[in-house]
């Protein structure tokens, strides 16, 4: 199955692309996608832990919904990565 990933703000800057697409076996999860992102875009290593867990440094929305690492993916799912911000 294919999964689209969109990078926002700092992640776009570090990855050098605004989006990418991965092919995964049927049982892949959000965490697998995060691991693959770090493999393909090593400059994101600091922000995305290699164990595939959602960290304090990245927010992940799957098809517009919060998705923990263990969430199973479907074909054509879209993941958006953006950094947590709290300032005002």
């Amino acid at each position: 199955m294919k999964v689209k990933v969109k990078f926002s703000t700092i992640f776009r800057e570090l990855s050098g692309v605004d989006k990418t697409e991965f092919s995964f076996p049927q049982s892949a999860t959000v965490g697998d996608t995060l691991k693959k992102i770090v493999e393909d875009f090593p400059r994101l290593k600091k922000w995305i832990p290699q164990n595939g867990e959602v960290s304090d440094y990245v927010y992940v929305l799957l098809n517009g919904k919060y998705a923990p690492s263990q969430t199973q993916l479907k074909n054509d799912d879209e993941i958006v990565l953006f950094p947590p911000v709290a300032g005002g």
Binding site: S8, K65, F82, A86
Partner: protein, 247 residues
Amino acid sequence: MLSERELIRYDRQIMIFGKNAQEKLKKAKVAIAGIGGLGSPVSIYLTAAGIGHLLLIDEQKPELSNLNRQIVHGEEDVEKKTKTLSAKEKLNQLNSEVKIETYSKRISRENIEELLNGVNIVVDALDNFETRYLLNEFCVKSGIPLIHSAVEGLYGQITTIIPGKTPCLKCLFPNPPKKIKFPIIGVTAGFFGVLEANEVLKLITGYGNNLIGKLFIYDLSRNEGEWIDVKPNPSCPVCSDKLLAKI
């Protein structure tokens, strides 16, 4: 009813959305939680636009290091007045017809109901998620729209939360970001503060479209942004009951 003076004062914006909408602005009560980087432009533009009643909430005093972005405060206010009083003085000068109420204590579970009683819209201009979650819970429970924004460096995010219709803050961000001393420049807070004020004006007047079910993220360093269609979390501890009640 608008006075002759008000008709002149708001003439250019009445050309956009009409007299009835201006009257709606005059009748509205809007709370601004946080009178810092975001709250400064929010309070200035809502005062200029003629919101009838503003409630400014902030427990801090301006510091010198705030002045690069908290444009409603000046050097004479640093460490002397509360941010709410400092802002009230400037806003009264800008528009004496707007009623400015101030509250200079931290929002808590104990005071929030009384504090926000009668408010039509709440603007989240805070700098921490603990208080944001309190505002979110109150707004969801009371059915009051909440305009959320947060900024850092040269980027930020904004969405308009309509209880029972859109995801709430806890749906989107179930875990608070780490507390850090964050970098920020005035233009970022200014940009997102103006967008927050714009969301308030559109909600009240009914003019245009709001960021309802949309999270807007923008990077001012690259002039790139995106709108993410966001959906409620069916197991959200704050709003899932409210959503179920609507079905």
